[in-house]
């Protein structure tokens, strides 16, 4: 059994302007020890999925489907049981470490608090655990009694990672963990997370719009567009041999240095990501798709097998249109 199984997840935010469908039927699984990269542009629903796994969404949000973590459906848990699962079953590392940390509490106390709240240790033992966690995430021990403002951006993100690991969860969700960091520090934090993931055999969901970061750390990639997964498969295969035109465009936004195809030729998609309240008919990507044809606005493509362990949702991948795909590619 997979560690995390998400089945036909549908999430609709209730806003003053009416319901906003952010996730429109997502089914996916994360195996034990696996890193799944979840990619897509702002508004595609990737962070909403993270919120649903930890039940962090506003209470008015309509959530349908199943999110099964280690055999338990998160969406139906009692408040007490939910508290036990958060941090100990699954934890999250957010984007802006400076906003996620309490500015008037020492970082060691913040980490210790999480351990004690979950009854995993006495105060004394929690302190020892914090020391060990500091070492694990590469923070110097003398920083243990610092306040958040005394730390650099990279160090704060390391504190967040230590906190996420504090209760030994089996799943860690990292939502844009390095976007706010400088290039060099981003690489250091990515390396740290990947090393910890390997050493502790963690399962991870890594969320970012930067496909080049994801392909570096992930085993499998899921590409989202307008609340749905449009392509899914082994990370390097999806990145280098995308089957869906959207994935191809996203990969081209992060070209490799030395690749002559992109030298002095930035490539991009026309148009903008769709408004979740006005999702185009048929294939939601069709207004921006370079390979669009007459059937696209009429019929919504299903996720079909597009290779070993791979799936993609594009009408061109249906047997009847396969020739068109090769002609246009």
């Amino acid at each position: 059994m997979s560690l995390l199984e998400i089945d036909d997840l549908r999430i609709t935010y209730q806003t003053k302007g009416g319901p906003v469908p952010a996730v429109r039927g997502v089914t996916m699984a994360v195996e034990r020890g696996q890193v799944m990269g979840l990619a897509g542009e702002s508004g595609c629903g990737k962070s909403t999925i993270a919120g649903a796994i930890l039940r962090l969404l506003p209470s008015t949000t309509k959530v349908e489907g199943k999110v099964v973590l280690d055999g338990e459906d998160i969406l139906t848990l009692s408040p007490g049981r939910l508290r036990a699962v958060r941090w100990a079953g699954a934890s999250i590392v957010f984007q802006g470490a400076q906003h996620a940390l309490n500015p008037v509490q020492r970082v060691s106390d913040q980490i210790a608090e999480a351990i004690m709240v979950h009854g995993q240790a006495s105060e004394k033992a929690a302190k020892v655990r914090v020391g060990a966690l500091f070492e694990q995430v590469g923070l110097p021990p003398r920083r243990i009694d610092d306040y958040p403002h005394e730390l650099s951006g990279g160090q704060k993100q390391r504190v967040m990672i230590a906190m996420a690991l504090a209760c030994s969860p089996s799943l860690v969700i990292a939502d844009e963990p390095t976007t706010a960091l400088d290039v060099m520090v981003q690489a250091q934090v990515l390396r740290l997370m990947k090393d910890l993931q390997r050493d502790l055999e963690l399962s991870m969901i890594f969320i970012t719009h930067d496909l080049s970061v994801l392909v570096e750390v992930s085993d499998v990639l899921a590409i989202m567009y307008a609340g749905k997964i449009v392509e899914h498969g082994p990370a390097t295969e999806v990145f280098y041999d995308a089957k869906h035109p959207y994935t191809r465009a996203l990969a081209a936004a992060f070209p490799e240095i030395g690749d002559e195809r992109f030298r002095r030729k930035p490539t991009g998609l026309g148009g903008d990501p769709p408004d979740p309240q006005k999702i185009p008919s048929g294939c939601s990507f069709h207004p921006r798709c370079p390979l669009v044809f007459d059937e696209c606005p009429k019929r919504e493509p299903e996720l079909l097998a597009s290779g070993p362990g791979r799936r993609a949702a594009c009408l061109l991948l249906e047997p009847a249109h396969a020739h068109a795909a090769t002609d246009n590619a």
């Binding site: 542009e41 400088d182 060099m184 570096e216 390097t236 030395g258 030298r263 002095r264 030729k265 903008d272």
Partner: protein, 374 residues
């Protein structure tokens, strides 16, 4: 990829001596905090030398990328070129003349595009008013061929890809998408018919798929209008897709400057190599990564300012070459190394280039077991 993507550029600048802007020995220092007591006793706080003596030129029709970590001085350099920040020493020369203090005429010809389009547009002005404001400030009532203000605004919008322009006249910024807003910012710059555009991280706030379009627009404007462009970026991949030359900055200095292909494919400075090593690539997480955070411009190290993080020093290679004293004690400026390719590195002067040196031997001590990769 669409059919309109014929080669976007010619072969870059027309002639290497035709410079639009020359930056000469520029210094910009920010004063640090001083306590009251210290201030009364005449003490000075730490000074941050954001830009510490740099010189380069922007050639006519070229795209020059200014790259480096945050805090390296790239944005300060751009702002000083724009006249938004006063220099402590050095000068900016535009078309052969120092810009001096009378900036209005200069500002019309050199326009800036900021990182955050939402923050640089007045939310209470319509798009028409936003574009027309620049024309009105510069008292341009008619174009060179007698165009009306509306025609000038319309032309700027359609050049920026907002077509038909009339559709956007009465819109407010919040009604547009992020990509459209950045196009409005670019249209605002274009309305004044500038020669130079300075773009500070113009796409880093935009969604991935929209970035390429904005960059394509800049490339197209360079080709159609003969603009010269300085693009400030931390993203070397972006520089690869647009820049003719790259200037790499570290702690307020240029450490390497040359044609994009040379700098990115055959880097001479260990810092450039390190920046290239952190560009994400598939299965590449086990590459060497430079330790430490972005350096502090209030505490500039002696000698080569990169030496505390330099792999050539850390691996003992500098000692082998007999240059350790120089690396740690003697400051150096960027010097020509190959044709059109300059570098500031003691090891390179000895004929060492990062590729040949032991840069790749330094790895993050946090990953003591690089062999365990899957």
């Amino acid at each position: 990829m669409s059919a309109t993507e014929a080669p976007v550029t010619g072969e870059g600048p027309t002639s290497p001596t035709d410079n639009v802007i020359e930056v000469r020995d520029l210094h910009v220092t920010f004063a640090g905090h001083v306590s009251l007591v210290a201030g009364l006793t005449g003490k000075k706080g730490f000074e941050a030398k954001a830009v510490d003596g740099i010189s380069f030129e922007l050639r006519r029709g070229e795209v020059l990328a200014l790259a480096g970590e945050s805090g390296c001085g790239k944005t300060t350099t751009a702002r000083t070129i724009m006249g938004l920040q006063e220099a402590n020493a050095g000068e900016i020369v535009f078309e052969g003349k120092p810009i001096g203090k009378k900036l209005q005429a200069y500002r019309r010809r050199v326009q800036m595009v900021f990182q955050d389009p939402t923050g640089s547009l007045n939310p209470r002005q319509t798009i028409y008013e936003i574009i027309a404001e620049g024309l009105r400030i510069h008292e341009i009532h008619n174009g060179p061929n007698g165009e009306t203000e509306e025609q000038l605004v319309g032309r700027a919008l359609s050049r920026s890809g907002l077509r038909p322009p009339e559709r956007f006249y009465l819109s407010y910024p919040h009604e547009l998408s992020g990509g459209q807003r950045q196009r409005v910012v670019i249209a605002g710059a274009l309305a004044l018919d500038p020669e130079v555009i300075v773009a500070d991280e113009p796409v880093s706030n935009l969604d991935a798929s929209v970035r390429g379009e904005i960059l394509q627009l800049l490339m197209q404007l360079r080709r159609d209008l003969g603009l010269s462009i300085i693009i400030v970026t931390h993203d070397l991949g972006l520089a690869w897709t647009v820049a003719d030359r790259i200037a790499v900055m570290y702690l307020g200095r240029l450490v390497e400057l040359g044609p994009t292909e040379d700098v990115l494919l055959r880097p001479l400075h260990p810092y450039t190599r390190a920046l290239l090593d952190v560009v994400p690539e598939a299965g590449g997480i086990d590459r060497p990564i430079l330790e430490g955070e972005a350096p502090d411009p209030t505490k500039i190290p002696k000698g080569c300012r990169f030496h505390p993080r330099c792999p050539v020093v850390a691996t003992g290679r500098a000692e082998e070459l007999g240059i350790l004293d120089k690396c740690t004690g003697e400051d150096l400026m960027i010097e020509p190394f190959a044709p059109d390719h300059g570098v500031a590195c003691w090891a390179t002067k000895m004929g060492e280039t990062p590729r040949a040196s032991s840069v790749s031997a330094v790895s993050d001590p946090g990953s003591a077991d690089p062999g365990s990769s899957g």
